[in-house]
């Protein structure tokens, strides 16, 4: 690790805002990078990396389809997903130093915001009365029940390693200082977070984003009835969530507190792209797990974080 330089006092919010802008603008490219990686590894050309931007633009110009069976909850779901995901991004120190909003224990708020988005989206799915969407909702909350303890364990391990209860500290300068003395537990936490990313962001081997059979879907089947701008918001929310978890993984493995603002943001962008490539590699080399195996994978990820905690408690 490079020696720490004190965070620059002048306008700490400006690099943070710039990093947030990079994250938001780059998010739709991440699924594209994963798909491209997968295609190249399996000997195909694949869709363009920027495909999701085109899809979003197309959907935003479409008419809204309204299911007469639904209530306002159906329309509120996508909005809440976007707001909660962006709000969660505000809590992360994306430029390596400062978060736009930070308070002791904000890691709980981070998990709470993700839960809020999930709550809204799953209820929007159930609002249609579709059996498919009920199935997807059930699977989503089932896997979340196994993923959430894992996420909190990872964050608690970071808090334990850094002695800091803010995400700003847990992923900022105190983390950089903690790496030399706690490399093994921190690496375990990073790996665990990557596995949670695969589950939370509906990537393989948990979900198959390329499937077109409703019965095998998890996330996509919840939003079968959303269309037009609503569906655009859902897709954007999914990409943002991938970027959010990617930023967590990058934050653990590449603390950027010692870098200048521009360099830190560049590392963030490169790290996000690397995470997306990693997702593509995993999806290329692994078959999708049976649904009943997924909780075992998630419990395994939690166990990694738990090992990290036990190492730190020694």
């Amino acid at each position: 690790m490079s020696p720490l330089s004190p965070p620059s006092p002048a306008l700490p919010a400006l690099p943070a805002l710039a990093a947030l802008a990079v994250l938001l603008l780059m998010a739709p490219a991440l699924p594209g990078i994963a798909v491209k990686t997968k295609a190249l590894l399996t000997g195909r050309r694949g869709a363009p990396v920027m495909q999701l931007y085109h899809d979003l633009w197309k959907l935003l110009r479409k008419r809204t389809l309204l299911n007469p069976a639904t209530t306002w909850l159906f329309r509120a779901g996508p909005v809440a997903v976007i707001v909660s995901t962006v709000a969660a991004a505000l809590l992360l120190p994306l430029d390596g130093r400062a978060a736009i909003l930070s308070f002791a224990g904000d890691l709980v708020a981070f998990a709470g915001l993700l839960a809020l988005g999930r709550f809204a989206l799953v209820l929007a799915g159930l609002d249609t009365g579709s059996s498919f969407e009920g199935m997807g909702a059930s699977r989503e909350v089932t896997f979340a029940a196994f993923a959430e303890p894992g996420l909190l364990l990872c964050l608690a391990a970071l808090a334990l390693a850094t002695g800091d209860l803010t995400l700003r500290g847990m992923l900022g300068a105190p983390l950089a200082a903690a790496w030399p003395r706690a490399a093994a537990p921190l690496a375990l936490v990073g790996i665990s977070l990557f596995v949670l990313l695969l589950a939370e962001c509906s990537r393989g081997p948990v979900d198959d984003p390329a499937t077109h059979l409703e019965l095998t879907m998890i996330h996509e089947v919840i939003v079968l009835d959303h269309g037009g701008p609503d569906f655009a918001l859902v897709l954007l929310g999914g990409a943002l969530k991938l970027a959010l978890f990617g930023a967590l993984v990058v934050g653990v493995f590449a603390p950027r507190a010692g870098l200048g603002a521009a360099a830190a943001i560049a590392v963030l962008a490169a790290g996000l792209a690397a995470v997306a490539v990693g997702v593509g590699v995993v999806e290329s080399v692994m078959a999708r797990l049976r649904l009943s195996r997924v909780p075992q994978l998630l419990v395994g990820a939690s166990a990694l974080a738990l090992f990290g905690i036990l190492l730190l408690l020694r």
Binding site: R61, R63, T64, L65, L66, N67, P68, A69, T71, L73, A76, A80, I82, V83, L101, F103, A104, G105, D106, V108, A109, A111, G112, L113, A115, L116, V122, L123, L126, D127, T128, G129, S130, S131, F132, G134, M135, A137, S138, V141, T142, A145, F146, P149, L151, L152, L153, A156, L160, D164, L165, E214, L224, G227, P229, L233, L306, I309, L313, R314
Partner: protein, 695 residues
């Protein structure tokens, strides 16, 4: 009780009045509240011939009484410290003392707000019941119950505490068996009565063991004796867990709770789940206050019981198809969360981490208040649904959000709050409990050998509880309020609840939102309660509560999130392009869907229950043409009932002795005498007259 005239508030109040006369006001307000509530109940019972006038009087009296008690609580939480009132005439167990401190006040606030809302809701609810029963006595019992709880938290001596406790337990029993013509209600009532009396028995033993030789059962005298208790008060602490734990519904003493809460009328379920079980929490915290530092094993035990109650409670809730039983199991879950806070607080005292102690107890107190608000609210919604449809079975409901939009919105708010989603009050309370379990510069100074750092292992349990609760409430809202109705006969006449039921529900929802949006209002008082329990009354200023509570940034966060959600919702039409087109639900090309093809509550919960099958208590029944799942309480069905049956079977062995023939009984007597004689002969050898004991 000829001593009411001899109340000598003068004794202490007059001395204190030199300092400030305002100080005595909270206790006077509380007394006024208790009296008003009781008068309202009596008036309603007396006016049973003229229910309209009685209802109006009852509403006004109860609301005024609740307001007075709430004001008393708020004054104390804002920092007032009223003097204690003593009844000095010859009362059993030493003088009877009443007082209010911050710990009492937070529970008093819960009693006043949730109790009053439930009583007001109950007026309309009972009037609309399909088979009306005389409501007067139910309203009177409700008034007695709420007044008794106000006295439970104000009592400062064992005897008045136990009297109020028993009045509370019995009035709650009579309310539970209000619909006593149904056998399952009588069964649930009997179970509740047995458990609550077993718990009271434990409390009798507790206070007797604590007082020892002393005649004074005042709390001050007990606190003075705390240091001389053997084994650090281990017996007292164990009995407190038993007696207060049974009231609170801690696993495995929860067996009465889902039965009683499901059997009671909905406004009674609301007050029982919302506040009556919290009296057990109050008792535990009061014991910690009086006893001083609990030993380490107690903190770990409480935390472990909390984790078990939380996880098992929510898991069993997930398995239910009965709306009110489901909500009742969620009370077990939330008691678990509260116990996690108490456990962390206790460990904080034991291991000398004041911040951990203050956060843990403060989180427990705040979550208690929050749960009173949102659990009562949820039972109000459930009552409206049950009344509108005539069924509690989730599998027959559906699509009620379109028929009952107000009820659906209120229930949604309560669900989001209980799940702990920002920016509502459940999040604030759980955040405090998380803080007490998590390490941090302020909490644990990083000593490697410090066992209190192991409290971090409860974090995944709390996360699991939260995620399972989310799954369960998504299930309830999705199945009850969204989609299409599954049973036309149940839903044909479903109408929105009247303002008399929606009003209290919206008032509680507003309280949930207020606490969630402005955590700065509640965090400082909650931490003051925590400091009081953690025995940091004076040293609390040194703890830097501002840094501990993070009240400012929390408030900014909550308000910003709410504003962003509202703005995004309002801006949503900007995305619309052209007129909306209607499109039916995607059915994968299937041409004739019916509402029966929707996912059901059972199918929704099945994957989770399948994964956690050993704990879930779901029984499957398969026949050639049908498949059914049935949720049972594993503790009741697997532990309590078999033990009871074993006892019965053992007793049955003795039945042949009782034949009802006199000659046989005379034979028993002769045989017994003969056996005694033989024993005396064998023991004494006949030489010494051992029978001298006979008078």
């Amino acid at each position: 009780m000829s001593t009411l005239g001899a109340v000598s508030a003068v004794g202490t109040a007059s001395t204190a009045s030199t300092a400030s006369t305002v100080n005595a006001a909270p206790l006077q307000l509380l007394a006024a509240g208790v009296l008003l509530v009781l008068v309202a109940g009596v008036a309603r019972a007396a006016l049973s011939r003229r229910p309209a006038a009685g209802d109006a009087l009852y509403r006004a009296g109860f609301a005024a009484g609740g307001l007075a008690a709430a004001l008393a609580a708020l004054a104390v939480l804002a920092g007032a410290s009223p003097p204690e009132v003593r009844i000095t005439a010859t009362t059993p167990g030493g003088p009877w003392v009443f007082g209010l401190d911050a710990l009492s006040a937070v529970f008093l606030l819960a009693v006043a707000v949730a109790g009053t809302a439930s009583a007001l809701y109950g007026v309309t609810y009972l009037r609309r019941e399909p088979h009306p029963r005389p409501a007067g006595v139910a309203h009177l019992l409700m008034a007695v119950l709420v007044a008794a709880m106000m006295l439970v938290v104000a009592a400062r001596a064992a005897v008045p505490f136990l009297i109020a406790w028993e009045v509370m337990a019995l009035s709650a029993y009579f309310l539970v068996v209000f619909e006593h013509d149904r056998p399952e209600v009588r069964r649930a009532g009997l179970l509740y009565l047995a458990v609550t009396h077993a718990g009271t028995l434990a409390l009798f033993v507790l206070f007797a063991a604590w007082a020892g030789e002393g005649r004074d059962l005042g709390f001050a005298a007990l606190a003075a004796r705390a240091a001389s208790l053997p084994a650090g008060g281990a017996l007292v602490l164990a009995l407190a867990l038993l007696g207060f734990g049974a009231k609170a519904g801690v696993v495995p003493l929860h067996v009465w709770l889902p039965e009683a809460h499901a059997a009671a009328p909905s406004h009674v379920s609301a007050v029982m789940s919302g506040v009556v079980i919290k009296m057990g929490i109050y008792g535990l915290l009061r014991v910690v206050v009086l006893l001083g530092a609990p030993p380490a094993w107690w903190g770990w035990l409480v935390a472990a019981l909390g984790a078990a109650s939380g996880v098992l409670g929510v898991l069993w809730a997930l398995a239910q198809h009965d709306l009110k039983r489901l909500l009742a199991f969620h009370s077990v879950e939330n008691i678990g969360i509260i116990l996690l806070g108490i456990g962390a607080g206790s460990l904080g005292i034991t291991y000398g981490h004041p911040a951990m102690a203050v956060l843990g107890f403060g989180g427990a107190a705040l979550h208690t208040l929050n749960h009173a608000l949102f659990k009562s609210l949820l039972f109000f919604g459930a009552g409206a649904v049950v009344q509108a449809t005539g069924t509690r079975d989730l599998e027959r409901l559906g699509g009620l959000a379109r028929r009952m939009p107000g009820t659906a919105a209120a229930f949604l708010a309560g669900a989001a709050a209980i799940v702990g989603l920002p920016p509502l009050n459940g999040f604030v309370g759980e955040w405090l409990v998380y803080r007490s379990l998590l390490p941090g510069a302020a909490t644990v100074a990083g000593a490697a050998g410090d066992a209190s750092r192991l409290a971090i292992l409860a974090v995944p349990a709390l996360a699991l509880i939260g995620a399972l609760a989310l799954a369960c409430f998504v299930k309830v809202i999705g199945i009850v309020f969204l989609g299409h109705g599954r049973d036309d006969t149940a839903l044909a006449g479903a109408r929105e609840a009247p303002p008399g039921m929606l009003g209290p529900a919206f008032a509680l929802a507003a309280a949930c939102a207020l606490i969630g949006l402005l955590p700065a209002l509640v965090l400082a008082p909650a931490l003051r309660v925590g400091a009081l329990v953690a025995h940091r009354g004076a040293g609390v200023a040194a703890l830097d509560l501002g840094g501990l509570s993070a009240a400012g940034p929390m408030t900014v966060f909550a308000l910003a999130l709410a504003a962003a959600l509202a703005l995004a919702w309002l801006a949503r039409p900007l995305l619309a392009r052209g007129p909306r087109a209607a499109a039916p639900t995607w059915g994968c090309g299937y041409p004739a869907p019916t509402p029966r093809m929707q996912y059901t509550a059972s199918s929704f919960a099945a994957p989770l229950l399948l994964e956690l099958r050993p704990l879930a208590g779901v029984h499957e029944r398969r026949t050639a043409g049908a498949f059914a799942t049935h949720a049972v309480d594993p503790v009741l069905a697997g532990l309590v009932l078999p033990a009871w049956r074993g006892l019965r079977a053992a007793a049955d062995r003795l039945r042949p002795l009782q034949r009802g023939r006199l000659a046989l009984y005379v034979l028993y007597i002769v045989a017994a005498l003969l056996a005694l004689l033989l024993y005396l002969l064998a023991a004494g050898g006949g030489a010494t007259p051992t029978g001298g004991a006979a008078p």
